[in-house]
């Protein structure tokens, strides 16, 4: 097996068609399945899998879009910090067009702010080494997947003795968000595709209690089209048989206990905290913040930004979309006042946002 086969073999049309036939044969009644991860939402639309599934299966899209759930208040703080003349503000690229209350990071850059897109958090640490007269701030957002590199950057800055590196942290975790979705009286989700790379890092031992509490089967699922149909097949089989288990449909990348070395890096850097999720609200113990001994790397403490008055677009229904309660095309602003070049909410911007997927792949009717 060569490196491309790890992707291309899992895009094999014949094998995918075989699994789809088995899904069609297995399903006898309507089921609502949520894919947590926005990367999976985009892959499903990109390959048209939603249109190949039998009509009984409805996929709803979860909150697994890091820039979508980063709270508006923190984005507004980022915009203030990024505009400072002594700051080089670094971020993953997705974040630049996400609307704050008044503007976005692109407009800060256009107005002269030094805002840079980095491939890795460690690139931001290098920038801090190269620019000792500047404060380098990294926007450390994301789920469990992004936590190890973000954490590593802080540990590396500490070991290098850097005084000009800090992180603006909005790390969130998947299981508490699933609790919030499943515990809601409006919940429709009957089965879950678990986010493959979150489980690569954390394993999937956190999920069986959730599955049992809410009687919802789950399958750890990867990102290639064959991975996705395999995950769907496993969930559909459990639903049809009335079984509630957490199965692993992404065995080449995920073990039950996850990656212990990655977890050690995370917990050396972060501790559990309450987190506010944009569009959803505060979920207790739903994310990570810097440990007290690393507080000197906390950009929120280093740059005290007060007087933030947030203002969400009154038209945007991102919160309902992130919880799977509504589909993007049900929003009256979809494709009209809200487009990827002029977004009202973060899900229209991100490569993981459901609104962006519906816009890009023209899903404008109920399916």
């Amino acid at each position: 097996m060569d490196v491309q086969s790890f992707s291309s073999a899992f895009r094999d049309n014949d094998i995918i068609q075989g699994v789809l036939k088995e899904i069609r044969r297995t399903v006898t009644q309507p089921w609502v399945i949520m894919e947590i991860c926005g990367g999976q939402t985009h892959a499903i639309m990109h390959y048209g899998l939603d249109q190949l599934l039998p009509p009984e299966i409805e996929l709803v899209h979860g909150p697994g879009c890091p820039v979508c759930v980063t709270p508006l208040e923190l984005i507004d703080k980022a915009l203030v910090i990024a505009a400072r003349p002594d700051v080089i503000f670094c971020s993953y690229g997705d974040m630049l067009r996400v609307p704050g209350s008044q503007r976005d990071l692109f407009s800060v850059r256009a107005a002269g702010g030094d805002v840079r897109v980095v491939y890795s958090a460690l690139d931001a640490v290098k920038l801090a080494q190269q620019n000792p007269d500047k404060q380098v701030v990294f926007f450390a957002i994301g789920f469990e997947t992004t936590a190890p590199p973000n954490a590593m950057s802080v540990l590396q800055a500490q070991s290098l003795g850097l005084k000009n590196y800090s992180v603006l942290v909005s790390q969130v975790c998947v299981p508490p968000a699933m609790h919030a979705i499943l515990g809601s009286p409006a919940n429709r989700v009957q089965g879950f595709l678990l986010a493959g790379h979150v489980c690569t890092v954390m394993g999937y031992q956190e999920y069986p209690p959730l599955a049992e509490q809410y009687s919802v089967p789950m399958a750890v699922t990867g990102f290639e089209p064959l991975d996705l149909v395999q995950g769907i097949l496993q969930v559909v089989r459990m639903l049809e048989k009335g079984e509630v288990e957490v199965q692993n449909a992404y065995q080449r990348a995920v073990t039950a206990g996850g990656n212990k070395a990655a977890q050690a890096i995370i917990f050396k850097t972060f501790q559990q905290v309450d987190r506010n999720w944009r569009g959803i609200g505060t979920i207790p113990q739903s994310g990570w913040g810097l440990r007290p001994e690393l507080v000197e790397f906390d950009a929120e403490k280093r740059f005290s930004v007060e007087d933030i008055h947030t203002a969400e677009s009154p038209l945007c229904i991102a919160g309902e979309i992130l919880q799977g309660l509504k589909k993007p095309h049900q929003c009256p602003a979809f494709g009209l006042q809200c487009t990827p070049t002029s977004p009202l909410g973060a899900p229209m911007v991100s490569a993981e946002g459901a609104c962006s997927a519906y816009y890009r792949y023209a899903r404008v009717e109920s399916n």
Partner: protein, 93 residues
């Protein structure tokens, strides 16, 4: 953001006190931090996310998954629904 990409480890080295690697993504070479996959070997495959190896991929598991799913499709085609039910119950683990 959670999209990790599989790549082949072509060189391992240390830089600034960190374990690093040169990774081949089907012809494109990039650097990745290997601190979360400290036992990785040259020639193995890793999932790289934001310049960071999240884990080593199991080639054996990849081939096994492909084999099982290919067989499943063939059985649905050739032998009809009842046979595929038998495969379905055999392959659950």
């Amino acid at each position: 953001m959670c999209l990790g990409i599989p790549g082949k480890i072509v060189e391992l080295y240390e830089q600034g006190g960190l374990k690093m690697a040169k990774i081949d993504f089907g012809g494109v070479l990039r650097e990745a931090c290997m601190e979360a996959a400290p036992d990785a070997l040259v020639g193995e495959y890793a999932i790289i996310h934001a310049g960071f190896a999240l884990n080593i991929l199991s080639e054996e598991d990849a081939l096994e998954t492909l084999r099982l799913l290919e067989e499943l499709g063939q059985l649905v085609d050739e032998l009809g629904p009842e046979a595929s039910m038998r495969v379905a119950s055999n392959r659950e683990d």
